[in-house]
Amino acid sequence: MSISIQQYDFDVSTELNALRAANKNVGALVCFVGLVRDFNGDDPIENLTLEHYPSMSESALADILDQAHTRWNLIASRVIHRIGTLFPSEQIVFVATAAAHRSEAFAAAEFIMDYLKTDAPFWKKEQTRHGASWLETKTTDTERAARWKIKNTGEST
């Protein structure tokens, strides 16, 4: 379990190599990378500014990883969340899970992303040529996170 909150970019290969170096019984790595899109609504996105609640964000992410390690048999996990101003096509977030088998790595990575969207204190401000607006939690994200509460691990793996 390892968490970084940082302004600078990350390299996916470097991160995955570190995860698999931990243990030669890793048979499956799943990673998610979230990127700044060029369009969200009608207007081109000029940039996104990400802020967080520094004394809470790392512990909130650690709590999500703890839950994932409790539910699934993970060998390692890693989250990187960038903050500051980012431009279209830049990397925002990285979630990776390492397990012996792919079902657990997939389920855990998706679980971590779903909870990150609803339980980690980060905020995005989207800048278009018409001005800036703060994005809010999407209903679909709240619903996705709620699914895990009624789903046993058997079904999801």
Binding site: Y53, S55, S59, K117, P121, K125, W134, T137
Partner: protein, 84 residues
């Protein structure tokens, strides 16, 4: 009772405040009572802190409006989160 208030996201920007110390007269105040008091500061406060537009944390834990405050608590007030 003295508490520390932190603001993030939309309310921080629109109210132009990132942190402040608040002195609450009522020693059994809840988060809801605190927000009611802050909304008295004016129309923009009433709008920005209206229910449904904000989420709160006490001492770095998401908390419901019914949560009781304690001396020295760190209370964070923010728009619904949107990371990832």
């Amino acid at each position: 009772m003295k508490v520390k208030l932190l603001y993030f996201g939309r309310p921080a920007e629109n109210l132009n405040v990132r942190q402040e110390l608040a002195d609450i007269p009522n020693d059994t105040a809840t988060l809801s009572d605190l927000l009611t008091g802050l909304r008295l500061r004016g129309e923009i406060w009433q709008h920005e802190l209206s229910e449904g537009r904000i989420r709160c944390a006490i001492n770095q834990e998401f908390s419901p409006l019914t949560a009781r405050l304690q001396e020295q608590d760190e209370v964070a007030i923010f728009s619904p989160i949107s990371g990832g």
